[in-house]
C-alpha cells in the first residue's frame, strides 16, 4: 500500500489537482481518499460521486487538524488493507506543522501567489514533492525565482508545476506516486514532530490571562490523569480532550465518563 499525504494552505488548490490525479490513477489502482478538514467539507462526497471511489470525511472540530490527522492514520490503514493507494488531504492550516510520514509520500501544494516560500516550515521543507499551483497567474521570471526559492528551502524536493484548472502537472505527480515506496507493515513515523499543545487554551480557556491559563492547564492535566485516555466515545465525545474541555466549561459532568464514575 502507498500512503500519499497532500498538505497546503487553504485555497492553494489541493483538491483540484487531486481530482486530476485520481482520474489518472483510478483505472489501474484501488484508491481510497480521505479528506481532513476543520469544520465542514463536501469534497469527499463530490469525489466519491464523480470518480466512483470510496472516500471518507474527517473533521477535526475542536482539535488541531494535523494532530487529529496523525491520530486517525492508523485507523485509515487498518480499515483499508485491500487498497493500493490511500490519498489523504490535510486541512492544511499551519505552516509550521505537517503530518508527512517518512514511509509515505508527502506532497506540498504551494500557491505561487501566496508569497515567499522562505516563511514556510516543515510543510514545505519536509515535502518529497512540491506541486506549485497557479503559476499561470504570474510571469515566467517570477516562476523561476519562486522555483529557486523553493530549492533554497528544500534542496531535495521535486518540483512540479501544476494547474488545477487544466490538470497540467497531474501526470507528473502520478509518476512520483507510482514510484514511491510501499509503507509495508512497519510502524509509521512522522517526518517532523508537531508543535506541542499543552497550555490552558488547549483545555478550552477563553480568558486571556496568565493566571486563568495556568489554572485551566492544571485542572485539565489533573482530569486527564484520572481518565484512561482511550478515546472510547462512551461519553458521547470523539476524544477525551474534547470531553475534558466541556467538563471544565461545566457543560457536562465528569461522571459521564464510565471510567471516572467509580472514582
Amino acid at each position: 500500500m502507498k500512503f500519499i499525504i497532500f498538505a497546503g494552505t487553504p485555497g492553494s488548490g489541493k483538491t483540484s489537482i487531486i481530482k486530476y490525479i485520481i482520474q489518472e490513477l483510478k483505472n489501474d489502482f484501488k484508491l481510497y481518499f480521505a479528506k481532513f478538514d476543520c469544520l465542514r467539507t463536501s469534497d469527499d462526497e463530490i469525489i466519491s460521486k464523480k470518480y466512483n471511489i470510496p472516500t471518507v470525511k474527517k473533521l477535526a472540530g475542536e482539535l488541531c487538524p494535523d494532530h487529529y490527522t496523525a491520530l486517525e492514520i492508523p485507523k485509515l490503514i487498518k480499515e483499508n488493507q485491500d487498497k493500493d493507494i490511500i490519498i489523504l488531504e490535510t486541512a492544511g492550516l499551519c505552516l509550521r506543522c505537517s503530518p508527512y510520514i517518512k514511509e509515505g509520500l508527502g506532497i506540498n501544494v504551494l500557491d505561487i501567489t501566496s508569497g515567499s516560500p522562505e516563511r514556510y516550515g516543515p510543510i514545505l521543507t519536509d515535502a518529497d514533492v512540491v506541486a506549485v499551483s497557479k503559476g499561470d497567474l504570474i510571469s515566467q521570471a517570477e516562476r523561476e525565482i519562486f522555483r529557486a526559492e523553493i530549492l533554497k528551502a528544500n534542496s531535495k524536493t521535486k518540483i512540479v508545476e501544476t494547474n488545477g484548472l487544466t490538470g497540467e502537472g497531474a501526470i507528473d505527480i502520478t509518476e512520483h506516486i507510482k514510484s514511491s515506496s510501499d509503507i509495508g507493515n512497519k510502524k509509521l513515523t512522522l517526518k517532523h514532530s508537531m508543535p506541542s499543545a499543552l497550555c490552558g487554551y488547549c483545555y478550552g480557556n477563553k480568558i486571556i490571562d496568565e493566571k486563568e491559563e495556568q489554572k485551566r492547564a492544571t485542572m485539565g492535566k489533573e482530569l486527564k490523569n484520572l481518565i484512561p485516555g482511550l478515546n472510547c466515545g462512551k461519553c458521547g465525545y470523539r476524544t477525551c480532550n474534547e470531553f475534558i474541555r466541556d467538563v471544565l466549561d461545566k457543560k457536562i459532568k465528569a461522571s459521564k465518563c464510565p471510567y471516572l464514575k467509580n472514582k
Binding site: S139, Q140, E142, R147
Partner: protein
C-alpha cells in the same frame, strides 16, 4: 545546458474523436517561428502543453515530441531546473513589490548566473523597443502597465531565461509592438511557437500549424507572398494605431489614407 537544441519534432497523435493525425512528422528548427491557428477550443493550447511537457504519448493527444531526433531524457522532462521551455501566457502579472532593476537582478541570481555588466540595462532597453511607454529601471514592478509588463517579460525571456524554446499564447492583446517582440526573441536563436488569431502575426512566421477537433489537420509553409501580405496588414494596423494616437491626443481626424504604400511594400519582399 549540456546539449544545444537544434530542433524539435512533433510525431502524430490522435484528435478528439480518436482518429490518427494525418502527417508523418513536423520538424521545427532553431530560429524558426511557428504559428498555431484554429478556432477557439480546437486544441491549440493542448499542442503547446504537449511540447511544454515533451509528451511521450502520455497526454490526451498521444503525441510524441523528440528533441534533436531523440526521445528526451526524463531529467529534461521532469526537472524544472533543466526545463527547456519558457512560456508567456496571456495573463501575466507581477506580484513582487520591487523595482524593475532589482527584480531582473533577482531573476539572474535565481538562475545561478553572474550578471554580465550592463545586461540589466540591456534587458530594459530592449523592452523599451517593444513597448511604446518607456520603462524606468527604478519603476516599481507593480506599477507597470500591461504592455510594459509584457515587454519586460519578453525581453527577460530573450536575455535572461536560458530556455531555448518559447511558447507564446496570444501575444496580440497586449499593447506592444509584436513584430519587434518576435524579432527580439528570434535574434537569440530560439524556437518560438505562437498561438494566435492575428492574421499579420500568423503570416509573419515560417510555418503555420492548423488545428481542428483536437488534431493537427494541416501544416503550411508561409509563402513569400504571404509574408508580403503580412507586411501590408501590419502597415494597416500601424496606420490605425497612428489614428488612435491622434484621437488620444485630442486631435481631429480629417481624412484617411486607405491605400498601401507600394514602395515600402516592394522593398520588404
Amino acid at each position: 545546458m549540456s546539449k544545444k537544441i537544434e530542433k524539435i519534432t512533433i510525431l502524430p497523435g490522435i484528435n478528439k474523436f480518436g482518429k490518427k493525425e494525418n502527417f508523418e512528422k513536423i520538424d521545427i528548427k532553431k530560429g524558426e517561428v511557428i504559428a498555431i491557428v484554429g478556432h477557439t477550443g480546437a486544441g491549440k493550447s493542448q499542442l503547446l502543453y504537449d511540447i511544454e511537457r515533451l509528451a511521450q504519448k502520455d497526454t490526451k493527444s498521444k503525441r510524441k515530441i523528440l528533441v534533436n531526433n531523440e526521445i528526451p531524457e526524463k531529467e529534461l522532462r521532469f526537472n524544472p531546473k533543466r526545463k527547456l521551455i519558457a512560456s508567456l501566457a496571456q495573463s501575466m502579472n507581477f506580484l513582487t513589490d520591487i523595482s524593475v532593476k532589482d527584480f531582473l537582478q533577482l531573476h539572474l541570481e535565481s538562475r545561478g548566473k553572474k550578471a554580465k555588466p550592463g545586461l540589466i540595462k540591456e534587458v530594459i532597453e530592449e523592452a523599451n523597443k517593444i513597448t511604446g511607454e518607456a520603462i524606468s529601471p527604478e519603476a516599481n514592478l507593480l506599477n507597470l502597465s500591461g504592455g510594459q509588463s509584457r515587454a519586460l517579460m519578453i525581453s527577460d525571456v530573450a536575455n535572461i531565461s536560458i530556455s531555448p524554446i518559447i511558447l507564446i499564447d496570444e501575444i496580440e492583446n497586449a499593447g506592444i509592438k509584436k513584430e519587434q517582440a518576435i524579432k527580439v526573441l528570434v535574434e537569440e536563436g530560439k524556437i518560438i511557437l505562437i498561438v494566435t488569431h492575428d492574421p499579420s502575426l500568423a503570416l509573419n512566421t515560417n510555418k503555420r500549424i492548423i488545428i481542428k477537433d483536437g488534431g493537427i489537420v494541416k501544416i503550411l509553409n508561409t509563402t513569400l507572398k504571404e509574408k508580403g501580405i503580412a507586411y501590408y496588414l501590419n502597415w494597416i494596423e500601424s496606420y490605425s494605431l497612428g489614428i488612435r494616437e491622434k484621437i488620444r491626443k485630442g486631435q481631429e481626424i480629417k481624412d484617411i489614407k486607405i491605400y498601401c504604400e507600394p514602395t515600402k511594400f516592394k522593398e520588404k519582399i
